[in-house]
Amino acid sequence: MSTVVNIERLGVSFATDAGAVKAVDDVSLKVERGEVLAIVGESGSGKTVTAKTILGLLPETATTNGAVILSNKAGTSESDVISLSKKQLRAVRGTDVAMVFQEPSSALNPVYTVGWQIIEGLRAHTSISTKDARAKAIEILGRVGIPDPEHRVDHYPHQFSGGQKQRIVIAMALVLDPGLIVADEPTTALDVTVQAEILDLLRRCRDEFGMGIVLITHNMGVVADLADRVAVMYQGKVVEEADAKTLFASPKADYTKALLAAVPYVGTGTASAIERAAKRPADWLEQAPVVEASGLEIVYPGRFGKPGFQAVGGVDFVIRPGEVLGLVGESGSGKTTIGRAIAGLTKVTGGSLRVLGHEMNGVREREFRPLRSRIGFVFQDPASSFNPLLTIAECVAEPLVIHGRASNPAAARKRVDELLEAVQLPKAYGDRYPHELSGGQRQRASLARSLALEPELLIADEPTSALDVSVQARVLELFAELQREFGFASLFISHDLAVVDILADRIAVLYRGSLVEEGTGAEVLGAPKDPYTQRLLASLPVPDPVAQAERREELRRLREAV
């Protein structure tokens, strides 16, 4: 097998406001034809920069040294991408190497048809008649699994689902059948079930079209599923490189070991849940539930006569004091809507939802306000959950000031310091601004804020999905500790079954606004009854190539059955 691309001693640094920053330092990698090389690492490790260098897509502020030897499709000639002129670079892009982007919805031009955008790639390299170009576009759409390509070729991007959009992005990369595809986090933005299909498609590219694929990801499950060889990057350097099986079986670099340990493995959490259940007091079941939903319906009103959108249609569940209910579902399943309804951010339109003994359907803000001190909320995006112009101490002191526990932020500072200690953040961080903290640190501060008034109920809306794997592990540990210590009831919302499994006593699975399955961790993960839950479980990749191979077979069987 001839090498498609050979990166020798690559170095890339950027000019930022705080001076020059070196993102990639002395990296050497090789990709053979028909082989998938996964580059894995946390954000800031330089993996995306390395990938973009192969296509010369770095912004002007970047300077590179070293060499990236890329051979053309037929393997007849080689060129060093870094020293290519703009014109030569253009000739290489699309024909010898192509890229698949992370966000499918923003990688397609909203105002042009998908057909036109595919033809653009063809027209940039070959002088081909529009009729033939259109035919080629239809053919490539068919190959990536878009139904009824003859008509869909003239549709616009917003008329496709997330998964279909990613298929089109891949089609655009394949149309000139390049020697190498660089896929930058191709499935991160997709739901788990759709992710599995896209990984299959990429596998076909490798097997049927014999292309080399450079897969950039931070998700070890995906690596286990698709990768032949793996390179682990940390702080701009390649700390370890090996074939998939040996890397997972016997990692050598400490960083790799730590990374693998931090990745949640679905099913491992059920043990601790059973042990927690045992410690429950006998009359626990009869205690008044903190949250009780019966036939809960939430409809978002449409604009100017367009029909409303029903986000939640008839859901029943219960959260008892001190219990963690895991709410799992893909995007559009209504899980966040339920969380917001409990917190009084979204109006309940049907059925009943009793929170701390208070009926939320037709609630009036004045009546509900005193109850707010008994509810805490942790948001998903650490970057925007803090007012950028206030210091961390002021933000955490906000609940204390609002509910009169302290006259002003300064008076509350002692209590704030205690809270920061509780979430393992040094007191000195109180004087910093939110943007001076890392994602993980900010999420801890957000936890501190939500616990300021020792609420009885804490709603966490995908608190760790925006964090790196290692940081996520520690935040989840902290969350469990705090839950044991404060004993609050909690609704933990997530799209990742593995994460929910670690914390939840009971798990509820949502699908398009209705509850398809509910039970303890063992029941739901061990023996799922509902077909959707089964498919959801099967398509979740586990960080072990061997086990992942069996699960792939099981998923294919499930798909034929349905």
Binding site: A18, G44, Y255, H435
Partner: protein, 357 residues
């Protein structure tokens, strides 16, 4: 294990926190050139405006000095560097004093429209509902409103027969204000709607903060980050509108204050008779000041928006390696002053006002 080492970020020196100085150090290449040029011109304008009484050789309405009257339409000479106008005033003094009048009008016009516009935009954006729709309709209606009519009404109602400096300045300022309020309203409303959906505002609501507290403590301060840009654009439009009103004869009475638009109007017939200096200097003054202010506004807009901001090309692969990259969220995105900027905010669109074209 990559533990979170405690890093003590440099306390941001006060010098860094001043708005323009901070941007100045950030800017690079051509953008720095434009910002510097803009600042020089604007600084000059403000200095001249403040020290006009000292710099100007004569009073703005002075017709004669010890040796007798200046005479009308005298060409530039030793004691009248810019010559004299048809009315016998010294052009140089009128230009210098004119800066003072222009500064008064800018400050008053912007202050009047700033508060009303921002508050209306905040409330309308935050509460939405029918109040929002009504205010939007009224704002659209204002665009078609002939600000000239308001200039006449204000000229009468305010000065009430007197045409002193303040009467004239307020008349011009108020007629400009009505057109500026919708501009502030639109931008702040869009920002409020955007910020209202941010997590930290929703968290404040969940915590049970009152609407007033949420609006003023959280939303307002973040929504007003784009104000320096709007302030500069309105300042330049204030001058152009004042000149327009002056041209149509509704400027400020010459013995009450020196006003460029008024002098330019008077100078039109001179120019067709070959007397160029009475028109050239006030015209140049208007153009240079508006150029200066707009350059500053445009550069501020570019610097606030990371996409538009150029960065120094770093020397060959230099710079400290991993230290800063430990901060997850990567080195490419973070930077002092946060991500912010106008990426998704409504790009500030231009509307001319009736009297300017």
């Amino acid at each position: 294990m990559s533990t979170d080492t405690v890093i003590q970020p440099p306390r941001r020196r006060l010098r860094d926190r001043l708005p323009v100085v901070h941007q100045l150090r950030q800017s690079v290449g051509l953008q720095r050139g434009m910002l510097v040029a803009g600042l020089v011109l604007t600084g000059l304008f403000v200095l001249v405006a403040i020290f006009a009484p000292l710099i100007a050789p004569f009073g703005f309405a002075q017709l004669r000095d010890l040796e007798g009257p200046f005479g009308s339409q005298q060409p530039p000479s030793a004691d009248h560097l810019f010559g004299t106008t048809v009315g016998g005033y010294d052009v140089l003094s009128r230009v210098l004093w004119g800066a003072q009048t222009a500064l008064y009008v800018i400050v008053i016009a912007v202050i009047l429209s700033l508060f009303a516009g921002v508050l209306l935009g905040l409330v309308s954006g935050y509460f939405g509902g029918w109040l929002d729709r009504v205010l939007v309709v009224v704002c659209d209606a204002i665009y078609a409103f002939p600000s000239l009519l308001l200039a006449i009404v204000m000229a009468i109602v305010i000065s009430g027969g007197q045409s002193n400096l303040w009467g004239g300045v307020f008349a011009a300022a108020i007629s400009i204000t009505v057109v500026f309020i919708p501009q502030y309203f639109r931008v702040i409303r869009a920002e409020t709607v955007r910020i209202k959906a941010e997590a930290y505002v929703e968290s404040a609501k969940v915590l049970g903060a009152s609407n007033g507290r949420v609006m003023f403590r959280h939303v307002l301060r973040n929504a007003t980050r784009t104000l320096p840009l709007i302030f500069t654009l309105n300042a330049s439009e204030a001058i152009l509108t004042l000149a327009g009103l002056g041209f149509l004869g509704f400027g400020i009475e010459p013995t009450a204050a020196a006003e460029w638009g008024y002098d330019l109007n008077k100078a039109l017939s001179d120019v067709s008779s070959g007397i160029w200096w009475t028109a050239l200097y006030p015209g140049l003054a208007i153009v240079l000041v508006v150029l200066g202010i707009t350059l500053v506004g445009e550069s501020l807009n570019d610097l606030a928006d990371p996409r538009l901001r150029g960065r120094r090309r770093v020397a060959q692969a230099s710079g400290t390696v991993a230290e800063t990259s430990v901060v997850p969220g990567g080195t490419l995105t973070a930077g002092p002053g946060g991500l912010g900027g106008l990426e998704d905010g409504e790009s500030f669109d231009e509307h001319g006002i009736g009297v300017r074209s």
